[in-house]
């Protein structure tokens, strides 16, 4: 079977799997967040946290809960990392203080940027009780926030948008944990490592001695993809044969990182009582994702067909098609796991990967964050184009007025501001530039990629940039922190405004938001706003490289 055919088959099977899974999973998630019933273990957790699950919160209390929980998580994870020397299962792994700060923020913000080498920087304990726990928690926080926003659209004339603790706990106990357990077992069956054994000493083919660590890989791998986290157990991440041994696990891992973000539009459609609304958001996400997959694959196949036709930075067991599919999916879901070296991609291919993140992680984006990002695009689109039908713009019966547009506009402003300011600063400071492997446009791309990845909470690295140094560790941590929580705060404030509004009934005079026309409008707005923001940067980086 030639590579094109197998590549197309892989994509085809993936699309079918997603198409089959998203409706039941989306419906199930909608039920999870609307039912009144609490499970017994959940009650124990609420009692432990001192939360009253029956009491719903307004947006301020909800946001404060998100903030308190996340701050607690950052501090706890930081302490676990710093104390890893005295915790069990320690094999000499170490981390600088600034790297520890970066790592703690990185995992709590669902970014999973790793400026350390996975197996050399963190012990098995840290990975298991620190990182894996955050893989669950950070993904759940993202989903909780979008559920609060969805409730704001679904409800009217109230101030209550749900209870954060209930949303958080249920996401973990009823969605992430059960799926992750099944997935981990399947991954073990498929060949992923799961042990607590000491590193294995082997002699390589050239006679050199090598120490190969094992660990609780499969369990972490499951949530790494499912929660769009992306922090690898090993430095080589999903390119490592212990994490991603074969084509089957590769396809399965891509499916996992896409499945929740692509199912949430269904949840949204069900919860707002109009499934067509879910379809249009899903269509918008799918078009952008499909285009990215097609463009990256096309660019990479074209780049590899010449004399220099290269498999540089790719695993032979995946090949160009499956690597491109993984790369396009991981950058468009804010996952950031990699099964190939993005630095080795062609100018055009690299540009698309970068653009995927610059879109704001909405195609389909991270767990929760992808959908709320897409809904903000919808609000902006409704506001600009909605005026053209001759009415004050409204979305799902909620008027997009002064406060709604202020919050949405600020949301749109946050990540570009972080990328442009911090990226622009880094590229002009010798202390940061010293970390660059390449010069010229490729070097610029490496630097911008790092800040884009951090600010959009993707976490994938272009490689080439040696980021494990205090300046970059701390500024990237800042980008991750602000890039995660400022938008969340704005989303919750937006939810607070929307939920208090009356719901205006849809008439023939209301701009329809479920039509193909609206989907293309969304695509247009997302591309134009992103394009206008990043065109000069892209021109000096990957575009200059591609056109040279």
């Amino acid at each position: 079977m030639n590579e094109t055919l197998s590549g197309l088959l892989t994509i085809g099977v993936l699309v079918v799997m997603l198409a089959v899974a998203h409706v039941p999973l989306g419906n199930y998630m909608a039920r999870v967040y609307t039912t009144e019933r609490h499970l017994r273990p959940e009650r124990w957790l609420y009692r432990l946290a001192g939360a009253d699950p029956a009491k719903e919160q307004n947006w301020k209390v909800y946001a404060a809960s998100v903030g308190a929980f996340s701050l607690f998580s950052i501090v706890l994870l930081f302490l676990i990392i710093v104390a890893q020397g005295i915790l069990p299962f320690h094999n000499g792994e170490t981390m600088h203080i600034d790297t520890a700060v970066n790592t703690a923020i990185s995992f709590v913000t669902n970014t999973n940027w790793q400026s350390y080498a996975g197996e050399a920087g963190t012990s098995i304990s840290v990975q298991a009780v620190g990182l894996t726990v955050q893989n669950f928690a950070s993904a759940a926080v993202g989903i909780a926030v979008v559920i609060a926003l969805i409730r704001a659209f679904a409800r009217h004339e109230t101030s209550l948008i749900g209870n954060f603790w209930v949303d958080l706990v249920r996401t973990v106990t009823r969605i992430l944990l059960p799926i992750a357990v099944i997935v981990a077992v399947l991954l073990v069956v498929a060949g992923v490592v799961q042990n607590l054994a000491a590193p294995m000493a082997v002699t390589g083919v050239t006679g050199g001695a090598q120490s190969i660590p094992g660990g609780l890989v499969a369990s972490q791998e499951a949530i790494k993809e499912l929660g769009t986290n992306g922090g690898g157990f090993f430095n080589a991440n999903s390119a490592h044969p212990f994490e991603n041994p074969n084509a089957l696990t590769n396809l399965f891992e891509i499916f996992l990182l896409l499945v929740i973000p692509f199912s949430l539009p269904r949840t949204y459609g069900v919860m707002v009582g109009d499934k067509r609304q879910g379809w249009s958001i899903l269509g918008f996400m799918a078009i952008l994702w499909g285009a990215a997959v097609a463009l990256v694959t096309w660019a990479e196949v074209a780049a590899s067909s010449g004399v220099a036709g290269s498999m540089e930075g790719r695993e032979t067991r995946f090949g160009i098609w499956a690597s491109s599919l993984f790369a396009a999916s991981t950058t468009s879901t804010s996952t950031g796991a990699v099964n190939s070296l993005h630095d080795s991609y062609s100018g055009a291919g690299g540009a698309v990967l970068l653009l995927n993140m610059m879109l704001g992680e909405i195609s389909p984006g991270g767990t929760g964050s992808g959908l709320y990002g897409a809904l903000v695009v919808a609000i902006i689109a409704v506001f600009i184009a909605g005026l053209m039908v001759g009415r004050t713009p409204e979305f799902l019966g909620k008027t997009i007025g002064r406060y709604e547009i202020t919050l949405s506009a600020l949301y749109t402003l946050v990540t570009p501001a972080l990328v442009l300011v911090l990226g622009g600063l880094a590229i002009s400071l010798p202390v940061a530039k010293a970390g660059l492997l390449n010069s010229g446009p490729h070097g610029l791309t490496e630097m911008i990629y790092a800040f884009t990845s951090a600010a959009n909470n993707n976490g994938s690295a272009f490689a080439g940039l040696t980021a494990d140094q205090p300046y970059l560790n701390l500024t990237l941590a800042l980008a991750m922190l602000l890039g995660r929580f400022v938008p969340m705060l704005l989303i919750l404030a937006l939810a607070g405004r929307l939920v208090a509004q009356k719901k205006r009934p849809a008439t023939a005079g209301t701009m329809p938001t479920h039509t193909p026309l609206f989907v293309s409008l969304l695509v247009g707005v997302a591309l134009i706003v992103t394009g206008l923001t990043y065109f000069p940067t892209l021109a000096l980086g990957p575009i200059a490289e591609a056109l040279s």
């Binding site: 997009i400 547009i405 506009a409 590229i427």
Partner: protein
């Protein structure tokens, strides 16, 4: 409520409607005003234009420090951009100025004859010193000193100063026609007016402020749009600021002039420049239709309206019932019936009576040439007027022939009294007419010496104004529900509602019912518009999102509504909605156009900045612009010129046809979205062809 107020609604003679377009002359006339508006305090009100203003200042300084054709060219065109933006606003404001001048003339200082206490004694005080509750005497030839209600007397008043209508109107104490406006002139009689508005806040004062745009507040939607534009401006500011270190890293530090040019091209100057002009022009379009909106917010709300409450009489129907059909019964012929109906109605001067005569004249030979009221009376005929007791009218001819017309039961009784019998089919026909919403009038005749006979039924009905059904259909496609308000019984109301094609009706409506209906609609999230003129309409007018008070109405009504229709034409509500929608559409269309324009500007400026550094980026120069300097300047010039080109559109408003939101969106996205992407590619290319001829642009 009374809506028979269309007396002065049809023609306007004195104030000619201004042409909707704009001439080059009006642009030139606006130039001085545009230059005055260069004052930073004024420019600061629009964040986008303020950025351009700062950019112009910076480039001017830079052009002075190191002059070159390019930097001077950029500096000049940036200033021109600001001037053009100011000009748009100045032109829009200029249109209201003429109207304001006319109004000012009416606001001359008057001497009021104030009554002292309750007594008949008068004292002369300046009109500007009147207080609320003062009572003043105005006689023929005098100007009414302030807004108020007539408490005594009746007079004809010339209101042309505010309505432009030269025919005088009658104003009388009590009832719904008691309101008078300061600045209008009493033509006959003597009235006593109780002042209801403080001097300086009178209707004319408010009108002047409105048409001049002096009291213009930014509307909610305008504020929201401004916030979005400001955010875009900040993003582009960051883009341009971050570009310099990246360019420096790449080895090609950019000139500050070029960066400023890029910034100005990217920020949404087009919509930023035209935004206030669009708002002013929207108000102006209402003024041209003789409607005064008390706030821009009201105009916007008009676009959002989803329920229209329309009074039946005068709005949906012609206002009076008309005879539409003669239905013969009991073997009589239609011609006999028409003839008798004609005779019985000849002396009936009510609109219904006249309509019977007209219908008979139009369809049957009534011999109207020689059978007139006066002629028949001369021959000895006696006309019997309608009375509440008999509930019949008719005529006793000289030949002894008796003709009667009236309510079914009365006429039937009269026939029996005069030896006749009630035909078997009469009741069925009477019921048929009644159930169709009409009013049946039965006609009977008695020839000399023979028993009386019933000839048939006249079908009187409310006639729906021509074209109303189509308008309701249009409204429905726009997603607007129409509710007919009437005092009729539910049966009649249902029939007319069906005929007119309204979506719903409120029969036997009291002011409380109306209020309840508005509340119910609003609770369902709908915006409601209505018209009204009576004092009992005031609460509903205030509750409605758009309340249009008729100018002939009471001051309470005018105070409660947020718009006043000087023509007092309730049908105009539909036009008002269209104007509100057009205002919002224009804003959205130009915003979309403005943002879409940026794509081409990037393709002009980015290759110009960096092709020297990375020759490969020359591929992006898809317009094949001649030189980097020419490319940048051409983009800046296009950016400025597009403002002027779009001023007429901003003032006139985007073409608007009632259609569903989906089809409007499709059309406008195509024109202003796609058009906005494509047109600057062409425009910049053409400008470049000219600019590249300038020496020193290499």
């Amino acid at each position: 409520m009374s809506t028979a107020t269309t007396t002065n609604s049809t023609t306007r003679s004195t104030a000619p409607k201004k042409a909707a377009g704009m001439s080059a002359a009006s642009l030139v006339a606006a130039l001085p005003q545009a230059l005055v508006k260069l004052d930073p305090r004024h420019v600061f009100r629009s964040p986008v234009i303020f950025v351009v203003w700062v950019g112009s200042l910076l480039t001017t300084v830079l052009a002075i420090i190191s002059p070159s054709t390019f930097s001077v060219g950029i500096a000049i065109w940036l200033w021109i951009t600001v001037v053009f933006a100011n000009m748009a606003e100045a032109v829009a404001e200029g249109r209201g100025k003429a109207q304001a001048a006319t109004l000012r003339a009416a606001r001359t200082e008057t001497v009021a004859r104030r009554l002292v206490g309750d007594g008949p004694d008068e004292e002369a005080v300046p009109g500007s010193e009147l207080r609320l509750g003062d009572r003043v005497v105005v006689e023929a030839g005098q100007i009414i000193p302030g807004d108020g209600d007539i408490v005594e007397g009746v007079a004809t008043v010339d209101e042309s100063a505010i309505t432009g209508e030269s025919a005088p109107v009658i104003r009388e104490s009590g009832g719904d026609r008691c309101a008078v406006t300061g600045g209008t002139t009493v033509l006959s009689d003597r009235i006593v007016v109780k002042i209801t508005t403080k001097p300086g806040e009178t209707f004319i004062d408010r009108m002047i402020a409105l048409v001049e745009g002096a009291s213009r507040q930014k509307t909610p939607n305008e504020i929201a749009l401004n916030i979005l534009l400001a955010t875009l401006t900040i993003i582009f500011l960051l883009v341009v600021i971050a570009l310099q270190p990246m360019a420096a890293y790449s080895g090609g530090t950019q000139k500050v002039v070029v960066l400023i040019a890029l910034l100005v091209c990217l920020i949404p100057t087009t919509i930023g420049a035209l935004l206030s002009a669009i708002g002013i022009a929207g108000m102006d379009r209402l003024v041209q239709r003789n409607v005064l909106a008390m706030s821009g917010r009201a105009v916007e709300a008009a676009g959002d309206v989803s329920t229209l409450l329309l009074d039946k009489t005068g709005t949906i129907t012609l206002g009076n019932r008309r005879a539409t059909e003669f239905v013969p019964v009991g073997g009589a012929t239609a011609a006999d019936l028409a003839d008798a109906a004609y005779l019985s109605s000849l002396a009936d001067e009510t609109p219904e009576g006249r309509s019977v005569v007209e219908l008979a004249d139009a369809n049957y030979d009534t011999g109207s040439g020689d059978r007139t009221v006066a002629g028949l009376q001369r021959d000895g005929a006696t006309f019997i007027e309608f009375s509440a007791q008999t509930r019949m009218s008719g005529v006793d001819l000289a030949s002894g022939e008796l003709v009667r017309k009236g309510a079914g039961s009365q006429v039937a009784a009269w026939v029996v009294e005069h030896g006749g019998t009630e035909p078997a089919d009469l009741k069925a026909e009477v019921d048929r007419v009644a159930s169709s919403g009409g009013t049946p009038l039965v006609v009977a005749k008695q020839q000399t010496g023979s028993p009386a006979t019933v000839l048939g039924v006249i079908h009187l009905k409310d006639v729906v104004k021509p074209g109303m059904t189509e308008r309701f259909t249009q409204l429905r496609t726009m997603g607007i529900r129409t509710v007919m308000i009437t005092g009729d019984n539910p049966l009649t109301a249902a029939a007319i509602a069906k005929e007119a094609g309204v979506d719903d009706f409120l029969a036997e409506a009291t002011p409380e019912d109306k209020m309840a209906l508005i509340r119910k609609e609003q609770e369902g999230g709908r915006l409601v518009a209505m018209t009204g003129d009576g004092t009992n309409d005031a609460p509903a007018l205030a509750q409605a999102d758009v309340g249009v008070a008729m100018n002939t109405g009471t001051s309470a009504a005018k105070e409660a509504g947020n718009m006043v229709d000087l023509d007092s034409d309730p049908t105009k509500l539909i036009e008002i909605v269209a104007i509100g929608k057009q205002l919002l559409i224009t804003r959205g269309a130009l915003t979309t156009f403005s943002i879409a324009n940026d794509v081409a500007k990037y393709f002009a400026i980015i290759p110009a900045m960096f092709t020297g550094l990375f020759p490969g980026l020359g591929t992006l120069n898809i317009m094949r612009l001649s030189t980097p300097n020419s490319a940048v300047l051409s983009a800046v010039i296009f950016n400025a010129l597009v403002i002027v080109v779009l001023i007429p559109l901003a003032l006139r408003g985007v073409r608007y046809r009632p259609a569903s939101a989906a089809s409007m969106l499709r059309r406008n996205l195509l024109i202003y979205g796609l058009g906005g992407v494509i047109s600057p590619f062409i425009g910049i290319k053409i400008i470049d062809l000219v600019v590249s001829l300038i020496p020193g642009m290499k």
